[in-house]
């Protein structure tokens, strides 16, 4: 008997997991209906000897999901949530459906909701959805909302089961920017070169737009992201487990800013804007990001390092207000699978929000993290993580009673506990 775990079986399944599969079928009915017209003929081709239930299984999608609950506590400063007092506002739920329609053609989608301090608030959204046609191994196309392959791990930023750390190095993979950096809606071309003595190259190029919701910020109106373009090239060297690559991405934001009256007066008094200037201020914000990546995996040990720079240039109708900023981000990380049920991780992450000015507690963020991951059973994990933080560049004044990062505690500890069930 073929057992596909949580996927439709190729033969009749009368095991104890049958009830779960029936549940999956009900849950995935909507998706199944959307692919029914295309997929059912494939099921109809099966022979008379195959039971009807198996023909049903042939066109049912694979279903996977996860549920996470976390807790965070810091000795000083609030980070991501009200962490100083301790916060449970750290959870995620995801459910995805994937269907291989032909050898070359697949469709899929994932529903996702989360709560992380002030963001998410259990608002369900399509994390990704796509149509994927692979002409050859060296050329495939995807259309829909696809995850952005920025660096080594951006696509896995919200997949707790896929890594040891609770939080990936926040310098390069900021969790709070998840909604803006995780996925884009448009198209993607991907592929990899055939095997050769010099290894293989994996390449991906994408373009589209990113959905951004600024409705919670009363100072921003008409937010629009006309384009995001990017690409990643990864060299898989002839040395087993060695990957070296780079990613480049550019995007542009347009919005109307509503400045507070006192700010308008200050700018006018300083001669930066005309005395009769009024709200709103149309602004354009092109952003360029790149990251260089290195990863080496040997048996149960994985080493990774990345270096990145992000540059943004603010332009308005008043050149005196224009400004640009370039920040610098990097980390080095190691993880080791000690035994099948225990893995450990360690990283050092460094972030300078303004490369032109690295002095001051709010102009830097050092982060040393130690992680433990326990897998007591196959579909359940528990993680413990401790961070030693020096600097306050990660911190948001809104979460810290309006206190500016320059005035927050320089050295602080941050602890996370998280458990995830997945299938």
């Amino acid at each position: 008997m073929i057992s596909l775990g949580w996927r439709p079986s190729l033969a009749a399944d009368r095991s104890a997991r049958g009830w779960l599969r029936r549940g999956q079928r009900r849950a995935s009915l909507l998706f199944a209906l959307s692919v029914l017209l295309v997929a059912f003929p494939a099921g109809a081709e099966t022979t008379e000897e195959v039971p009807v239930s198996n023909r049903m299984a042939d066109w049912m999608p694979e279903v996977h999901g996860f549920v996470s609950q976390g807790f965070m506590k810091s000795t000083d400063n609030n980070y991501l949530a009200q962490s100083e007092r301790g916060s449970f506002e750290f959870n995620e739920v995801g459910l995805n459906f994937t269907k291989t329609l032909t050898d070359r053609f697949r469709v899929g989608m994932q529903l996702f909701m989360r709560d992380l301090g002030p963001v998410g608030n259990y608002k369900p959204q399509f994390d990704w959805f796509y149509l994927d046609y692979r002409f050859f191994d060296w050329l495939g196309i995807r259309a829909g909302r696809t995850k952005i392959p920025f660096g080594l791990y951006n696509e896995y930023n919200d997949i707790d089961a896929a890594r040891v750390a609770v939080l990936l190095p926040q310098a390069v993979y900021p969790t709070l920017n998840r909604d803006y950096l995780l996925a884009q809606t448009g198209g993607e071309i991907y592929g990899r070169t055939p095997h050769s003595a010099i290894g293989e190259f994996e390449y991906r190029a994408y373009g589209g737009t990113i959905y951004m919701d600024a409705s919670s910020n009363p100072a921003i109106h008409n937010l629009d992201l006309p384009y995001v373009l990017g690409g990643r090239l990864m060299w898989e060297a002839p040395v087993d487990g060695l990957r070296i690559g780079g990613t480049y991405q550019t995007l542009k934001l347009n919005a109307d800013l509503e400045l507070p009256p006192e700010a308008l007066q200050q700018y006018a008094a300083a001669g930066l804007i005309p005395a009769d200037a009024t709200n709103p201020f149309p602004v354009q914000l092109p952003i360029w990001l790149w990251v260089a990546s290195l990863e080496y995996s040997w048996r149960d040990l994985t080493l990774a390092a990345e270096y990145s720079q992000w540059k943004a240039k603010l332009t308005t109708e008043y050149p005196t207000l224009d400004q640009s900023v370039k920040n610098e981000r990097m980390y080095i990380m190691a993880s080791y699978q000690v035994v099948p049920w225990l893995a450990t991780g360690l990283y050092y992450s460094l972030f300078f929000p303004d490369m032109a000015d690295r002095t001051g507690v709010d102009k830097q963020q050092h982060d040393v993290a130690v992680s433990l991951r326990f897998d007591p059973i196959e579909h359940w994990l528990i993680k413990l993580e401790g961070h030693f933080m020096s600097g306050t560049a990660y911190l948001d004044p809104q979460l810290n009673n309006g206190v500016q990062p320059a005035d927050l505690t320089r050295n602080w500890l941050y602890f996370l506990l998280k458990t995830t069930a997945y299938f």
Binding site: L4, D300, Q337
Partner: protein, 157 residues
């Protein structure tokens, strides 16, 4: 010193006199140990697969679904054993060059980022043989004690 007792000095003297013999014995033990670590699995394919031998890296990429087609263009259908299987642990270590836990983590990445889904798993090695024999393009692995019928052996290069 009485006869029959062994001092560290006499041991050293013995080793010096029989250095070559000790070296040969050591190498023998190492080689025996190495032989015990040799892969105890066969890679098997559907008889319709044209190749009799495949590069180890190609087989690894096929099981990780980094490549989906044989050189001739036929679709590859890899099939796995359960994560608790000893044969899978050996195959994973020798061919994929990573532990079963690491492979499981790899598939979590692929599943939840929408990239792909893992190969089907069957419950036993005889079912691997049955699957491979009946599915054109199938690629599997079984322990060397499994009875092979209707499949072809693939040599790893």
């Amino acid at each position: 010193m009485s006869r029959g007792t062994t001092s560290p000095r006499s041991t050293l003297h013995f080793l010096r006199r029989h250095a070559l013999g000790c070296l040969v014995l050591t190498l023998l033990f190492i080689s025996v140990g190495y032989a015990q670590e040799k892969p105890r699995f066969y890679v098997i394919a559907h008889p319709g697969v044209a190749s009799n031998a495949l590069p180890t890296r190609f087989v690894a990429d096929a099981f990780l679904k980094k490549v989906t087609r044989f050189e001739g263009g036929g679709v590859i259908h890899p099939v796995d054993l359960p994560t608790t299987s000893k044969t899978r642990a050996i195959f994973s270590d020798q061919v994929l060059k990573r532990s079963v836990a690491a492979v499981r983590s790899y598939w979590q990445q692929r599943i939840f980022s929408g990239r792909d889904v893992p190969p089907p798993e069957v419950d036993s090695e005889s079912q691997v043989v049955k699957y491979v024999a009946g599915q054109p393009g199938a690629l599997g692995y079984v322990s060397d004690s499994t009875e092979l019928r209707g499949v072809k052996l693939i040599a790893l290069q």
